[in-house]
């Protein structure tokens, strides 16, 4: 063995190499994911049920989408905007009565049992169709799931069901859970609802109530070399202001779903090491909507609804309430939807004089105190923005002589007041557009929905023409014809105003710049994060 000698030259060479090695990752190797590490993420709520097959909501997906996977995930550049997950291909029959899924080979559940078509059949028939909040509508005609072999599942529908709808529903509605865990006992009470078992890149490790959720790496994951992270910790930080300071203190590396208040983004984007990212939520568009109780005789009058629409300054709402992180809405389909959106609908410019004239025409003239009539206004408490818009709407209505009395409730009381008791005149709601109007949008307008179904038409609105249009679209198989029908639907809704669409917004992530592969699909925050990595 030769003795190591330290010369000036070797030190220089060595330090040059060191310099180069620190500079290189940011230039050439930035795309090569690094293995290992623990990602700490802010979580603002602790869902009681973590089973995404039963509760298809973003709060649940945020955690459980890493554990339980759907048949396909949304994608920026994949065919039909989809990327295969548990299914590798999907094909709809021409008559709309069946859809055939080819499933991925060699996939294992976290407990080691193999994943087969029986699991898909069980999830579809026993959970998505009867129990899931969204699946109840989309899979209502699903009759049977044939499993000719272990890797093929054929969905059979009793009535023609548009393949376009099924395809659009794949990312959010088709989380597959293991049959062998759920087949005994009541599905709603299964312990796996709180400690999910799936096929995803991360396994559920533990949940300390009020503190954190911990997910650990699934070594048997089907994705090659994936996942890159060893662990994901969801740090429970219910207070919104604390997420920003936790990021600055490097206690957490990621705050998704606008956990950092919009007003803080400008400041935090200047903090070195932190990035503000607006991408990665394209398929999760929230809509700011004024829900209307048509049982009130004043509001049953179209002229009054038009007056309210004219009284709302949508640009002001986008600029002030959302600080520019939103877009004004024209109708029930958001502008950023690539398939269905049409701008060719009746619009309502901000015009207080016109609104006042419409109300006079409708026969509601101003009384001695300058007021026409009084309304109860219930802003949904889920977001700061919905509450602030409530404050704004009260002022906008005051300008046209409508006296709106705000009623504040907590989440549970709000849902009961609006969707069960109908104890409201106007409500501010944030429904979600999920890539297809038939999933969660037409339900906001359709009549005949039983009391108590949240985020549905509980305003007593009934329009036979619109109901017929919705029914027709739900059976139209040709995607082009179906899209046309939904364009017609948007026009009719904008004309008759069963509700008033004000703005559309998505979320913002704030992330440390050491986190790689962020926001690389339109549902990133609620996708599986198998390719997410940490640079150091």
């Amino acid at each position: 063995m030769s003795e190591v000698t330290i010369s000036r030259r070797s030190v220089l060479a060595g330090s040059a190499l060191l310099l180069a090695s620190t500079a290189l990752p940011t230039i050439g190797w930035a795309q090569t994911p690094k293995k290992g590490g623990r990602l700490v993420v802010a979580a603002d709520s602790e869902p009681r049920n973590l089973n995404p097959a039963i509760v298809a909501s973003n709060g649940v997906f945020f955690i459980s989408s890493k554990i339980v996977e759907p048949l396909a995930e949304a994608s920026f550049d994949g065919k039909d905007g989809l990327d295969p997950r548990l299914a590798t291909s999907w094909e709809g029959a021409a008559d709309g009565l069946s859809v055939t899924f080819k499933l991925r080979e060699g996939v294992k559940w976290h407990d080691g049992k193999p994943f087969t078509s029986a699991d898909v059949a069980f999830s579809a028939l026993q959970i998505w169709k009867p129990l899931q909040n969204l699946g109840r509508t989309v899979f209502k005609d699903l009759e049977a799931v044939d499993t000719p072999d272990e890797l093929t599942a054929v969905f059979k529908f009793a009535r023609p069901t548009p393949f376009q709808l099924i395809r659009n529903a794949l990312p959010a509605l088709t989380s597959v859970v293991p049959k062998h865990i759920y087949e005994t006992g009541k599905i709603e009470e299964n312990p796996a609802n709180n400690a999910p078992i799936g096929t995803g890149p991360f396994k559920f490790a533990e949940h300390k109530s009020g503190e954190y959720y911990r997910l650990e790496r699934n070594g048997d994951y089907w994705g090659q070399d994936q996942p890159y992270l060893d662990e994901i910790i969801y740090q429970v930080l219910p207070d919104r202001t604390s997420a920003a300071s936790a990021l600055e203190a490097e206690e957490i590396q990621l705050a998704a779903f606008s956990a950092v208040p919009l007003a803080d983004l400008d400041r935090i984007s200047k903090v070195p090491g932190l990035k503000v990212i607006t991408k990665g939520y394209e398929a999760l568009t929230y809509q700011l909507v004024v829900e209307i109780n048509h049982r009130r005789k004043e509001l049953a009058d179209l002229k009054v609804r038009q007056a309210i629409a004219h009284a709302i300054d949508k640009d002001f709402v986008v600029k002030t309430v959302f600080l520019g992180y939103a877009a004004t809405a024209t109708g029930p389909v958001p502008k950023n939807d690539p398939q269905f959106y049409t701008a060719d609908v009746p619009t309502y410019v901000f015009d207080v004089a016109k609104a006042n004239a419409l109300l006079d025409e409708a026969g509601y003239s101003k009384g001695d105190n300058g007021k026409r009539f009084s309304l109860k206004l219930l802003p949904a408490p889920y977001f700061n923005e919905t509450k602030q818009f409530g404050d704004y709407l009260r002022q906008a209505l005051a300008a046209i002589g409508i006296d709106a009395q705000l009623v504040n409730n907590d989440s549970a009381a709000h849902i009961k007041a609006v969707y069960t008791d109908h104890a409201f005149d106007l409500a501010v709601g944030p429904p979600v557009f999920r890539g297809d109007p038939a999933i969660s949008t037409t339900i906001l307008v359709q009549s005949g929905i039983p009391d108590g179904v949240p985020f549905s038409n509980q305003g007593g609105y009934k329009n036979d023409e619109l109901d017929a249009l919705i029914a027709k679209a739900s059976e139209t198989l040709d995607p082009a014809a179906r899209t046309e029908l939904y364009k017609e639907f948007q026009k009719k809704v904008a004309a008759d105003l069963p509700l008033i669409n004000v703005a559309e917004w998505s979320f913002i992530s704030v992330v440390r710049d050491t986190v790689g592969n962020v926001a690389n699909n339109p549902r990133w925050a609620v996708s599986n994060w198998a390719d997410t990595y940490l640079e150091s």
Partner: protein, 276 residues
């Protein structure tokens, strides 16, 4: 020395009186200076204070005038504070007098009820009451009074217990006055001074409780309140701290002013008593 002169000799009493006077002036002049709706949108959002002299204290997240909100908020705070204290004192004095004067079973029952109310933290009681009944100004006043009447009740009872043994009470009995008449016309007025001494503490606590309820979103949403202003400012605490600081300082000064003035009154009364 007249009581007023004595009152004005204590510096803290003067400070308290000045703050209180300013507060009442604010509350009374609010509709003069800002006749419209204080929640109307008046300018660009998040305007910092002292930038635009038509909006001297700046604007909040929606562009509402902070000064207008502050002045109208003073009305709400004072109204709730005074109404809640009046209700608590009235209920407390009546319960205390009845218990003390009647004695026996009535005393036992009323005092055990008082005990029960005293064991529940008054803020929790208010919180539960408002979230069940629903927030509005009247409900908030009732909720605060619900937790505050026990103190006056105990003090009133103690006073009544000593007063009812005095000769004039026996005299009233002899001339055949109805016991209730004796209790409320002869005994209660004499028992009142120490009970009223509690009022400053109760008003101050009521204003704080109202602010805390509003901060938690349980105030009347159709009125401006300082607690509600602080809660709204909290979301932008790092970017626009003045939105929380301004109503916060107003709240501190108000409570301090009431407390100091109350102390001054008690002090004056004590001196007078020891002089007599």
């Amino acid at each position: 020395m007249s009581p007023l002169r004595r009152f004005l000799c204590t510096p803290e009493a003067i400070a308290g009186a000045i703050i209180l006077a300013a507060l009442f002036a604010m509350a009374l002049t609010a509709p003069l200076f800002f006749p419209g709706d204080p929640q109307a949108i008046a300018g660009p959002a998040l305007l910092p204070p002292f930038q635009d002299w038509s909006l001297p204290l700046g604007t909040d997240r929606l562009g509402r005038d902070v000064l207008a909100a502050l002045l109208h908020g003073a009305r709400t705070s004072l109204a709730v504070g005074l109404a809640a204290a009046a209700a608590a004192l009235a209920v407390g004095a009546v319960v205390g007098t009845l218990a003390g004067f009647a004695g026996g079973l009535v005393d036992e029952v009323l005092m055990r009820i008082t005990d029960a109310f005293q064991t529940v933290p008054s803020f929790l009681l208010a919180l539960a009451f408002v979230s069940v009944v629903g927030p509005s100004l009247g409900v908030v006043v009732a909720a605060i009074a619900l937790g505050a009447w026990t103190g006056p009740a105990r003090v009133a009872r103690a006073e009544v217990l000593s007063i009812r043994e005095r000769d004039f009470v026996a005299g009233a009995r002899v001339i055949g006055m109805h016991p209730l008449e004796i209790a409320f016309r002869e005994v209660l007025p004499n028992a009142l001074p120490p009970v009223l001494a509690l009022s400053s503490v109760i008003v101050a606590a009521a204003i704080l409780t109202e602010a805390a309820l509003s901060f938690l979103g349980l105030g009347d949403p159709n009125r401006v309140t300082w607690g509600g202003m602080i809660a709204e400012g909290r979301a932008v605490l790092r970017t626009a701290p003045f939105l929380s600081i301004i109503p916060g300082v107003a709240l501190v000064l108000t409570v301090l002013g009431i407390y100091l003035a109350g102390e001054g009154v008690v002090e004056t009364a004590a001196v007078r008593r020891s002089l007599s």
